[in-house]
């Protein structure tokens, strides 16, 4: 395959790179206790929330940025970031008719229709632009079953007891540098509570969008599945094309109580920077779930965006017989860097975890899998299976695998498989000979390679993810 073809097919443009001209309420850049007080006041938060934030901030001040990951970037100037930006409009919205028309146009461009279409397709959606949630659909339908699905801000006002009980229990404030920062300044995100024994009748979904220049997005998602409940949750992300780097430091906490099951799917398509590696989103995310007895958490992610990604959706398998799963496709192209993987912490007896990671590197990018499987001293009969595959396109990119295994119980069974392959000229010629052009051939091969992961996504999302893979790796599609 000549370099020319490779450039052509890997050099696609980012199609979500528009900005929307919406009047915003943005605080000046910088971070200190006053800014945190201001954010908290703007959101009319109770005293305990403010104290929680201030405590996190003080912790953060004592921490240093992690450097152990396999990515290089210019560290963000945390005093140059604006920590709060909201599309300017009155308080809470009662219906979609009240949403700023410019904002609705944004969603149209993103291919998200907040109204009938979504209602018909049965996906309840929360939309977060910059720092605040702008619309949550389907609330009433869900409320009938006692399901709470709303923005984090609203949850703090309306369900303080639930938030207070669970916030920071899975990802503590001092967990890591970015988690501490998030805890101090998070502005919105989604909150979800599924009551005991309830099976959530539809997919819940949050769409995140960074719009304003120079702002960071620090969303916080908390999902609590009470005993015996089930929920499938989807998350999508995009950002405009900007020359400077934007910071995204989110925290997601999942609580799966006894016999509960959470399926959490992400399609991440933050702006990856231009062909020279300028701009793009720094995506430093902490995602973790805790499983009580017989509970199951399944993370599925398709990561195609961001200039730098640093993300390890993890499971703490605390309860006996609990199950953790991680299915990931990470695509890097141009000068993107991704250091992503998972941690499976087996604490309970008979706990099981599965890790399927598929990395695809093209252009000048670097793609690392980093995963930890830890079996604690009490975790009798813990089992793990990991499979980490890397696919390389071209000869300028890199793929790396960093598996860590710590077993403290003699009955632990841990399997790790890893492969590295290239899309071969043989495969391409074979497809070409059957009438399939090179671009379609790559899409076909890549989709086949990622199939085990894509199969985990809810139908509608899988189609979107498949298209996204094609766009990320190909020429002019879309």
């Amino acid at each position: 395959m000549s370099d020319e073809i490779l450039d052509e097919i890997t050099g696609s443009e980012y199609k979500y790179g528009f900005t929307t001209d919406i009047e915003s309420d943005t605080v000046p850049p910088g971070l200190n206790e006053d800014v945190i007080r201001m954010i908290s006041a703007k959101k009319n938060e109770p005293e305990w929330m403010l104290e929680w934030r201030l405590d996190a901030f003080r912790t953060w001040l004592e921490m240093t940025e992690p450097e152990w990951h396999n990515v290089t970037y210019e560290k963000p100037d945390f005093q140059a970031v604006s920590y709060y930006s909201a599309p300017k409009q009155k308080k809470t919205l009662d219906s979609l008719d009240e949403v700023d028309p410019e904002l609705l146009k944004t969603f149209e461009k993103l291919g998200i229709s907040l109204d009938e279409q979504k209602r018909l397709s049965g996906v309840a959606m929360d939309v977060v632009v910059d720092s605040v949630s702008v619309a949550t659909t389907f609330k009433a339908t869900l409320a009938e079953k006692g399901i709470i699905f709303c923005s984090m801000s609203e949850a703090i006002q309306e369900h303080p007891e639930l938030v207070r009980k669970h916030l920071g229990t899975v990802v503590p404030k001092r967990d890591n540098f970015y988690a501490a920062l998030n805890s101090a300044v998070f502005t919105d995100g989604s909150f979800c509570y599924i009551p005991k024994g309830v099976r959530c009748p539809m997919e819940l979904s949050t769409y995140f969008r960074i719009n304003e220049a120079g702002t960071g997005q620090f969303e916080r998602t908390l999902l609590v599945a009470d005993e015996g409940s089930y929920v499938s949750y989807l998350e999508g992300c995009t950002a405009p094309q900007r020359d400077e780097n934007q910071l995204h430091a989110a925290v997601v906490e999942l609580v799966a109580m006894d016999d509960a099951e959470i399926k959490y799917s992400t399609v991440q398509n933050w702006y990856p920077g231009d062909a020279q590696g300028k701009g793009g989103v720094f995506n430093f995310v902490t995602k973790r779930g805790i499983c009580e007895r017989n509970a199951k958490i399944s993370w599925t992610q398709v990561e195609t965006g961001s200039a730098v990604t640093w993300k390890y959706p993890s499971c703490i398998l605390k309860g006996d017989n609990s199950i953790g799963e991680f299915y990931s496709v990470a695509v890097t192209n141009k000068y993107q860097q991704a250091d992503t993987g998972t941690k499976m912490i087996h604490l309970g007896k008979n706990t099981k975890s599965t890790i399927i990671s598929k990395g695809i590197s093209a252009g000048h990018s670097h793609n690392s899998y980093r995963g930890l499987v830890r079996v604690g001293a009490r975790a009798e009969n813990a089992r793990n299976f990991s499979q980490c595959d890397s696919l390389l396109m071209g000869d300028q990119c890199g793929a790396h695998t960093f598996p860590y295994i710590e077993a403290q119980h003699p009955t632990a069974q841990i399997e790790h498989e890893a492969t590295t392959s290239k899309i071969g000229e043989d495969q391409l010629f074979y497809c070409n000979q059957r009438g399939i052009g090179t671009e379609e051939a790559i899409a076909l091969i890549v989709n086949g390679y990622c199939k085990e992961v894509l199969n985990q996504l809810p139908m509608e999302f899988a189609v979107e993810a498949q298209k996204l893979l094609e766009v990320s790796l190909e020429g002019s599609v879309g």
Partner: protein
């Protein structure tokens, strides 16, 4: 259908084809035989348009059109099919998905609408039956974990689905046991029509017991050194390639 004139080609500076002349008309079956390294596979790859082979002289005319300027997929759209000597694995892509993509991309290339799902399914059913394949084939990953015989059968299945004008069978008999050989050859014979042609490339004569050629050519050292009818294949089988080598030493 296809006219090859004084075709010369090389791979990595090494001259392989040194002036091939061959004409195949609709309805005909031609066989090219030759010892290892004579250029048989190079010829099939050059006709299919593989990039690694540099054509240094001559021309290939396919139905009045110069093939040289066309990409491999464009040649496929025009009706050229190559059954690979070593079919390639494509993990995670099912046979049915692959063939569906191939058919619809070819149709697109010819300015036609995609094939109706129902028609596609009926056709898959018909062709799997023709090749005595179990339907479970269709949901397996392309060639992944296939035995040698299954791979070759899968090639002929694709040929049956794509209905090419010119099918080139590159060493299709290699790695086949006698039953698989019979099934594959039987499939090819049933696909023969007045308006299509087959070029069989083989080292041994045994495939020609099943697929009877109208013409047999012997390729040696980059040139066709002998042509005749099917009796030539038998003569070759009897005398061995040393006979040819001695004559052309």
């Amino acid at each position: 259908m296809i006219k090859i004139k004084d075709l010369q080609a090389r791979v990595e500076e090494k001259e392989i084809l040194k002036g091939i002349n061959l004409e195949i008309k609709p309805g005909e079956v031609h066989a090219i035989m030759g010892p290892n390294g004579s250029g048989k596979s190079t010829l099939s790859n050059v006709i299919a348009g593989r990039e690694d082979y540099e054509v240094t002289g001559g021309a290939i005319d396919f139905e009045g059109e110069d093939l040289m300027d066309l990409d491999p997929e464009e040649r496929a759209h025009k009706g050229i099919f190559l059954s690979f000597q070593y079919p390639v694995e494509i993990p995670g892509v099912t046979v049915s998905n692959f063939i569906k993509t191939a058919i619809n991309e070819s149709r697109k290339g010819r300015g036609q609408e995609p094939m109706e799902a129902r028609e596609m399914l009926a056709k898959m059913r018909e062709k799997t039956a023709l090749l005595e394949m179990d339907k479970s084939y269709l949901s397996r990953s392309m060639n992944e974990g296939f035995s040698g015989g299954e791979k070759k059968r899968n090639e002929i299945f694709q040929m049956a689905m794509l209905e090419p004008k010119l099918a080139i069978l590159d060493e299709t008999d290699s790695g086949l046991d006698i039953d698989a050989l019979r099934i594959v050859a039987n499939g090819v014979n049933k696909l023969r029509r007045k308006d299509n042609a087959v070029l069989v490339i083989t080292h041994y004569q045994r495939l020609l017991d099943y697929i009877e050629p109208d013409f047999v050519h012997v390729l040696y050292n980059g040139k066709i050194v002998k042509s005749g009818d099917k009796s030539l294949a038998l003569e070759l089988e009897e005398k061995g390639y040393d006979w040819i080598k001695a004559e052309n030493a």
